[in-house]
Amino acid sequence: MTWHAWLPVLTLLSSLVPGLVIFALPERSFRTRTTLNLAGASIKLVFVTLIARGLLAGEDFTSVLPLGAGLDLVLHADNLSVLFALLSAVLWFFSTIYAIGYLEGSPNRSRFFGFYSLCVSSTVGVAFAGNLLTFFFFYEALALATYPLVVHRGTAASLDAGRVYLGYTLFGSALLLAGVLWLRSLAGPVPFVPGGSLPATALAHRGDLVWIFLILVAGLGVKAALVPLHGWLPVAMIAPAPVSALLHAVAVVKAGAFGLIRLVNDVFGAGALVAIGVERVLPTVAAVTILWGSVRALGQTRLKRLLAYSTVSQLSYVALGTSLLGVTASVGGLVHLVHQGLMKITLFFCAGNLAETLGIQEIRDMKGVGRRMPLTMIAFTACALGMIGIPPLAGFVSKWYLALGGLETGRPWVIAVLVASTLLNAAYFLPIIYSVWFGTPDRPWRGSSAHPTAGEPAARPWWGETGPLLVWPTVAVALLATGAGLFANAPFSPLAWAKFIVSGGGP
């Protein structure tokens, strides 16, 4: 095995090994745990960057772990893998820092960070999976590693949320497994190949393939929060903010959307989907999800619940872009995978800052909070406007490509869906932004003793609205989110990489 064959495995291990060590650490060894966490996050970033550079130069990264009986665990880094792996590596880096600040002084931190690392390892596995069975393996591992994080607080509400989460996700996994095995019996091992990998012999079984596709979409749709399989996501908002970030931006829902992209582009391919006549299924479901998520977000009074419904809606942009089966639409879908992740992690960090510093959970308590926590609320405002799709922010770039892609594939209704979604997004985000900056609080906020810097205004530095480990990661991801849209045409923007993937880019 050469360096190239090792790199995907090393990337996986860069979070797996620290995670397993952290499990064994005693609760009080704060410094060792933090060092391990940050070292793992940094090393992973370096490895993924190396792979990205190699791919630009046309190199191949494949590791095969033969498990006997004709079954191989294949890790293969292609352009699409790197988009997802880089996103989760970058966001993991910031959310680890954030989580260290957020959980300061709370119990069970070794358990938390252990599972946190396992989650990210599984995500990297999902990104680098080279065939459907490997994909399933890591997908399942991700589901199980997330559960302890959702119930981390151990309150009745979080246990309840965990139950819902596990119920939904196991149901999805069962479907996915059934689909994977059925497809395997029909088409042999299914590697991921751009344009589809089904052998011609398999295409003869049209009836089976239709069912397999529907089952796989449903299985992946649970994590991708497609309506009507989205119920777990708003319930799981009870988890601590770093976990919400993981669910909504870094790993879980992203794994679902990523799986849909793999399924549509690299397993079936546009040709096969049209041949078996299921090309209309996913766009329809995605459009319904986009609208339904936004409509449900309108009525929410809790900030994190509103953000969760917003995720339901926004994530289906990815599914929509992919399932339209056009070049421009694919660019829009892929780039929104990144854009949504960057914007939503910022919004959840902001929600976490509000909850942790001032005890704000409800939207009505956010009146006038812009004066108290300006940096957090500037970040929130920028990303909320981005979600609405106001240029030059990231959401606009996605929408522009999706709308053009809809026309390109002869589906002008896509524009109507996007326009409606834009207006609904504006209807639920703008009132919040208004009250944040121009409202006056009804009652005093809870003072926080956990973060000494957040004391009297006179004693605080200008950024000291809350602890530094909460402020700076928020600002950093907000800058990334803003930059992704503002400099969309720059050479290393998410948009440029999405175009590189869709063009089947080599050197």
Partner: protein
């Protein structure tokens, strides 16, 4: 041209064009820096200067851009953009200085100027935008920034006005987005529309409606008469003078003018425009706040501009003369309406009899110009409109009623201007007795005393108004038309309108409802509320929304009842046991051995699955 070349050397276009929006936008961020915030009003008005320098110093054809930004942000200055940029930059600059004086004692002035700077930059960028995405960027930014200007006073009236405005603007933006995507699909994002591209009816309708919201096209105009009286005087001036023109500018960019003949759309625009002229005149004459009257006058005037655009759509041959009319009319209306709006503050702020008479005469001349009194810019603009109509006739348009309608439209303008002067004379002002000087509602113009600087810039703008016919335009200047025009043709509509107002005024006076009425305690509601159709429309929407909500609740209740019944039937027997098992399992999983067992179970199941799959 030598001067222009010199300016080009000092300010290379590649730097000067982005500077027009980058400088104001970067300066706006000073609002976030405590020490700088306080000083923002002092220098903010001057930051329209880069746009002004570009407007007077560069020739059409200058290009620039920021290739990494958004989807390759491109800037270019063309003839149309230059005409718009000239009046826009002038008004932003002068109204900004006026605003500094007007808001001198306002503690929230820094916030006002932050929004002001964003709007200045967005407006300049919009007029220089070289592709569709760039246009949309600046259009959306301009729309959002004006929200802050309208809502500045933060009275309930201002907050509601801003809300109404934002709703309209967001819907307009969304429609425009759809229109631009449809056009970009055909043209590849290039701003001008090539002749060989066929544009379907959908994008044209979306362009007309999406931009028509900003332009105040009836029936999308209701935000104008609500927003204008609520905003501070200088904000109203730029809103009516400059910002609504951004919608017109978009029409000129995205409609296939001078490319293809679209008789259907042309007829619809002309008919709609003529209707708007009279409709807004009637509703506007019933208003009691001078700024509301002016807002309706803007709706009426935009109706006339729609007529000119409609004439241009009738065929490529009709476009050159129609284009000239549109550009001259836009410039004339922008400058005149700004003078009139600033006049509301000027007349109210004049101290002493002589100052008041001077202020009223300035306003009177400007009102005459808007009505099209001979030898004013208004007469030139109306002559250009008639010339465009003649041009369209020769190109094959048949609307024999149009010339008379346009002349009667001028009379309608005169009526509105008469009503404006009427309300202005009766409005409370700094020179009147105490009771009248009390603002009737918070945020009203009364009682603002203006410093000398504000008077100077108002005078400068008035002087500019007198020179508008001489401003260079593509296709000559307005002076040519003033020389040729028959003064009588311009005079009789004005006289007719003035006669109607005088008649109404004397009648009202005799009935005791004239000028004294305006000093009566408590403002009586006008016969038609500002925003006219919005009021019944909103009521209708509330009814529909209530019905929908009732339906939704009803359906929800049905479901809920069903679910409850289901739970009663089944949960009693099996539910409790299952629930307890869950809780036990959860408790187990949360402990360490539980976690280990879970992982072990997972690995085991994986191996089993592996075997299954392999077998």
């Amino acid at each position: 041209m030598g001067g222009q070349a010199a300016v080009g050397l000092v300010f290379p276009p590649a730097l000067a064009l982005p500077a027009t929006f980058l400088i104001p936008w970067l300066a706006a961020s000073a609002i976030a820096i405590p020490g700088w915030k306080r000083r923002l009003p002092a220098w903010a008005p001057w930051l329209a200067a880069p746009a002004f320098v570009v407007a007077v110093g560069l020739s059409p054809g200058a290009t620039g851009g920021l290739s990494w930004v958004l989807l390759d942000l491109r800037l270019s200055l063309d003839e149309t953009g230059l005409v718009f940029l000239r009046f826009s930059a002038l008004i932003w600059l002068l109204a900004g200085i006026y605003a500094r004086g007007y808001l001198r004692e306002d503690r929230a002035a820094p916030r006002f100027f932050a929004f002001w700077l964003v709007a200045v930059g967005a407006n300049a960028g919009l007029l220089l935008s070289g592709d569709m995405v760039t246009f949309y960027l600046f259009f959306a930014a301009l729309g959002l920034a004006c929200y802050g200007l309208i809502f500045h006073d933060r009275t309930p009236q201002a907050v509601r006005a801003a809300q109404v405005y934002l709703t309209y603007v967001l819907i307009g933006d969304a429609l425009l987005f759809a229109a631009l995507v449809l056009i970009a699909r055909e043209t590849g994002g290039v701003l001008s529309i090539p002749a060989d591209v066929s544009i379907g009816p959908a994008p044209i309708a979306l362009v007309l409606a999406g931009l028509g919201v900003k332009l105040g096209v009836v029936p999308l105009h209701s935000w104008l008469p609500i927003a204008h009286p609520a905003a501070p005087v200088p904000a109203s001036a730029v809103l009516s003078g400059v910002i609504i023109k951004s919608g017109l500018f978009g029409w000129l960019r995205f409609l296939p003018l001078g490319v293809v003949a679209l008789p259907g759309w042309s007829g619809a625009l002309i008919a709609g425009g003529v209707f708007a002229v009279f409709y807004a005149a009637v509703v506007g004459s019933l208003q009691r706040d001078p700024k509301t009257v002016l807002a309706y006058s803007s709706v009426s005037q935009m109706g006339l501009i729609s007529v000119a655009v409609g004439l241009g759509l009738s065929g490529p041959a009709a476009w050159p003369s129609a284009r000239f009319a549109v550009l001259l009319y836009a410039t004339h209306h922008a400058v005149t309406k700004s003078v009139l709006f600033l006049g509301v503050g000027g007349v109210a702020g004049a101290r002493g009899r002589r100052a008041r008479i001077a202020a009223l005469s300035v306003v009177g001349v400007a009102a005459g110009a808007l009505a099209g009194f001979p030898w004013t810019s208004g007469a030139a603009a109306k002559a250009a409109l008639h010339a465009a109509e003649v041009g369209a006739e020769t190109a094959g348009l048949h609307m024999s009623w149009l010339p008379l309608a346009l002349s009667l439209g001028a009379a309608a303008t005169a009526v509105l201007m008469g009503r404006y002067l009427w309300t202005l004379v009766g409005a409370p002002h700094a020179g009147a007795d105490r009771r009248a000087a009390e603002p009737r509602r918070p945020g009203a113009a009364a009682g603002h005393r203006l410093p000398a600087g504000a008077w100077v810039v108002w005078g400068l703008l008035f002087a500019a108004l007198l020179t508008v016919p001489a401003w260079p335009m593509p296709g000559g200047s307005g002076l040519r038309l003033l020389g040729e025009a028959d003064p009588w043709a311009a005079l009789w509509p004005v006289a007719l309108g003035a006669g109607i107002v005088l008649l109404a005024w004397t009648t009202a006076w005799r009935a005791g409802a004239g000028a004294p009425d305006l000093d009566a305690p408590g403002p009586p509601e006008p016969a038609v509320p500002p925003g006219d159709i919005l009021v019944p429309a909103a009521r209708g929407m509330v009814v529909v929304a209530r019905a929908a909500a009732a339906l939704a609740v009803g359906v929800g209740l049905l479901f809920h009842a069903g679910a409850d019944a289901f739970r009663r039937d089944h949960a009693g027997r099996h539910g409790a046991g299952i629930r307890a098992a869950w809780v036990r399992a959860n408790r187990f999983v949360r402990r360490w051995p539980g976690v280990g067992a879970l992982i072990a179970l997972f690995l085991l199941s994986m191996i089993v699955l592996w075997r299954l799959a392999a077998g």
